[in-house]
């Protein structure tokens, strides 16, 4: 075993960090909060940097990178609180398509995705269904001509406001709630009603209402749609955990600087032992969270059951650390930490959203426990 990064990986991380620091200052981000969106210039630059196609095969225009490279990049995106839906559109949508057998449609979509020419969103959540992807909120039907159409409502679809295509989880024709199929909807004027709004982290999401909307059934390979979605969500979850670690690192840096400069009672805040200990705890939390990224990455190479257990463990530990580090970051800043003008509260809000994305703590505890039965462990 060797958990160190290769030269190329270090290079990727450093160049991403440099690029994002230059392009994505907090002020630039605040401006972008006003005119959000990913169709813009930066998304194109992401494409030019090769980030959007990174994990695609070479014949699809990619460089065949794996989850480690994705995680390195996501950590840097977290550090600057990038507003682009990289994880949803590239990691999640990309993984879904990559898990499907090659067809003209699938290859074109992946190529377009990697080139930044088309934006694909993934619609999973339904009202009142927490994290279930096909609770019956959207159902697929067949027209008399045998074409597929979708009816129902999806919520909190990241990037859904601007997407050219949406991959929708839905109950298949004749299926029961819980049965899951994956469908592709091409978004144009009247294909579905979308309402865009933002979540507390400033990212844009949309609710999509389908009403007999034409869709393409993406099934057909050896893997079931449910298994494909589950694995893609695990990949996206690990990427998101890396983003969270980037957020935590940024919070810790900001807080350390604040403690070194802010004075009360004639001393810097950093000279109070209570606060020194808190800083130390925050750092240790973050280090354990980082360790869990490695576990998460390793889990992606394991059979489904172990993968699910390992990824849930990572999500739990990283999100617990994130919420704690974020909240303490605000606390140690005092009043200034509560303001919109100062970055630390923005990191906290992003960390809150990450905890509730692709399954919250309760969801992942349930998933972990189900794979960790209370029988005496046997050593093989």
């Amino acid at each position: 075993m060797n958990l160190s990064l290769t030269e190329e990986q270090l290079l990727l991380r450093d160049s991403a960090r440099r690029f994002l620091r230059e392009q994505y200052s907090f002020d630039v981000r605040r401006q972008r909060l006003g005119d959000r969106g990913m169709g813009g210039e930066l998304w194109t630059q992401f494409a030019n940097m090769g980030w959007l196609a990174m994990s695609l095969d070479e014949e699809l225009g990619g460089s065949g990178a794996g989850p480690v490279e994705i995680a390195l990049l996501c950590e840097e995106l977290g550090r600057v609180l990038a507003l682009e839906p990289f994880v949803d559109s590239i990691v999640l949508a990309g993984s879904l398509l990559q898990a499907m057998p090659s067809t003209q449609l699938r290859d074109d979509l992946l190529r377009g995705l990697g080139a930044g020419e088309i934006v694909i969103a993934v619609a999973v959540l339904e009202p009142g269904a927490r994290y279930a992807g096909a609770a019956g909120g959207v159902v697929a039907g067949l027209t008399s001509e045998g074409c597929t159409e979708l009816t129902g409502r999806k919520i909190l679809v990241r990037g859904g406001g601007e997407a050219d295509m949406v991959i929708v989880a839905a109950v298949p024709p004749e299926g029961n709630p819980g049965d899951l199929g994956l469908y592709l909807v091409t978004m144009h004027g009247d294909s579905c009603a979308r309402r865009t709004y933002s979540t507390v982290d400033g990212c844009e999401v949309a609710d999509l209402s389908f009403d007999r909307t034409a869709a393409v059934d993406l099934a057909g390979g050896p893997m079931s749609a449910a298994a494909i979605l589950d694995e893609a969500l695990d990949r996206a979850t690990v990427a998101l955990c890396a983003e969270a670690v980037g957020c935590m690192e940024a919070v810790i840096e900001l807080t350390a600087v604040h403690l070194r400069t802010r004075k009360q009672f004639g001393k810097t805040l950093g000279s109070f032992q209570a606060l020194q200990h808190r800083m130390a705890e925050m750092h240790v939390e973050c280090e354990y969270a980082r360790a869990m990224i490695y576990k998460g990455l390793q889990s992606l190479t394991l059979p489904a059951d172990e993968r699910q257990k390992g990824v849930s463990a990572a999500k739990i530990r990283v999100c617990q650390a994130g919420l704690e580090v974020g909240a303490q970051g605000i606390q140690l800043h005092g009043g200034i930490g509560m303001t919109e003008e100062y970055p630390v509260g923005h990191y906290y809000r992003r960390l809150l959203v990450i905890e509730k994305t692709y399954g919250d703590l309760a969801h992942h505890f349930g998933r972990f426990e189900a794979r960790s039965p209370l029988i005496e462990a046997q050593r093989q």
């Binding site: 009142g128 927490r130 009360q264 009043g335 509560m338 809150l352 919250d360 505890f365």
Partner: protein, 396 residues
């Protein structure tokens, strides 16, 4: 020891309950129930309704226009507000400016300022903190130079809650250049409409405007607007802040939050994974147990000689952290549906536009959660309160 309420107390409690049932406007109740910050016009309206009944500050002594409630009646009063989802009115006039003025002010100041507080006609803000004087309040720099029979105020305050709606500020300012720190501070009652005052909004992480920065540029404050003696404000401030011992616990807020969590859990449980139900159930029970402990700590402070509690600080330490956890539980129960950014503008007039909230209980939950991060910062930060307990109890 007697665990029962007196007949008088029960009668009073029933009267409060009945009043709230009859007089609390339904839409105000609904907004409060959903966890929204009270809007200025609603706050004024509600304070005036209470004012007509003489209930803006019923715990004030009778000679100053209150009902002279006993501590336990005050507790019952607040409890009924919580149980009815009635907003409590802002504390600046009722708990701080009022007691400051009736304890240390002149008869003229009392006559001028107390009745409008009780009628809901004038509202106050608290001008203590400054950019470089937060936890270390005694290092504040705002200066009030004596000039004939007036003071000329220069400097500025920060984090001033509701300054943009307030008619007056009770302001700590330095009236002596010689003396350092606690000495040389005086209390001034500053008319917020005075020339030379600028109020700049500070938007907070819940996406709302409660906080402000206030700048004083040669603001003239008549000398008869100074409370008590020149240079003695530090001891007055300490008296006023610790006078308000038990509301720091925020019990009614906690109980309302727990009711909300319970309501949500009952409604959501059928659709939840059984292990999630078990987790949430245990968290709710834990917070309910903690709240019971807080409640009895409050009752002890109110009715027993419980000086060993380190009073206000002990209650604030527990109360603030608990209120944060209650808000967090509500958000966690809502799951992903707590995430949309809520903008209060226009609510409830366009309530049919549901902002992407699929759950009727969702609006306000996240905003409350975010703003409650401040509970362990404002009014004496958590770390500082701990220091006070260690010092008071053990001389450390």
């Amino acid at each position: 020891m007697d665990f029962s309420l007196s007949q008088d107390d029960c009668r009073f409690r029933d009267e409060v309950r009945e009043f709230l049932r009859a007089e609390l406007p339904a839409e105000l109740r609904e907004r409060h129930r959903q966890g929204f910050h009270i809007r200025d016009d609603d706050h004024r309206r509600w304070t005036q309704i209470l004012g007509r009944k003489g209930w803006v500050a019923p715990e004030w002594p009778r000679e100053h226009g209150g009902l002279g409630l006993t501590p336990i009646q005050r507790y019952l009063f607040d409890e009924e507000f919580g149980a009815a989802d009635a907003p409590t009115i802002l504390s600046f006039g009722r708990n701080l400016a009022g007691p400051l003025i009736y304890t240390f002010g002149t008869p003229e100041q009392r006559a001028r300022f107390l009745p409008p507080i009780l009628a809901g006609a004038e509202f106050w803000c608290q001008g203590f903190s400054e950019p470089n004087a937060g936890s270390d309040l005694a290092s504040l720099q705002t200066r009030a130079e004596p000039h004939g029979d007036a003071y000329v105020l220069n400097g500025g305050k920060i984090w001033t809650t509701e300054a943009h709606h307030a008619d007056f500020m009770f302001c700590l300012a330095r009236t002596s250049a010689e003396e350092k720190r606690q000495n040389g501070l005086s209390f001034l009652l500053v008319d917020m409409k005075s020339p030379g005052i600028t109020v700049r909004p500070i938007w907070s992480i819940d996406g709302e405007h409660h906080l402000n920065e206030v700048f004083f540029d040669d603001v003239v404050v008549p000398a008869d607007r100074r409370v008590g003696e020149e240079g003695q404000a530090w001891s007055y401030a300490k008296f006023v802040l610790t006078n308000e011992r038990t509301s720091a616990a925020g019990l009614d807020r906690m109980k309302a939050g727990l009711r909300r969590a319970r309501r949500l859990l009952v409604r959501l449980a059928p659709g939840l994974d059984p292990t999630a139900v078990t987790q949430f159930r245990r968290r709710l029970a834990q917070l309910e147990v903690d709240t019971i402990a807080l409640e009895w700590a409050v009752l002890r402070v109110l009715t027993a000689d419980a000086r060993e509690m380190a009073g206000a600080s002990a209650l604030k330490l527990r109360g603030s952290a608990l209120a944060q956890r209650v808000a967090e539980l509500v958000v966690d129960l809502l799951g992903p549906e707590a995430l949309p950014q809520f903008s209060d503008e226009g609510y409830p007039h366009n309530a049919d536009h549901n902002y992407g909230f699929a759950d009727p209980d969702a609006p306000g939950a996240m905003t409350t959660h975010l703003y409650r991060r401040a509970l362990t910062i404002a009014g004496g930060a958590y770390e500082v309160q701990r220091g006070i307990v260690a010092k008071q109890m053990f001389g450390l």
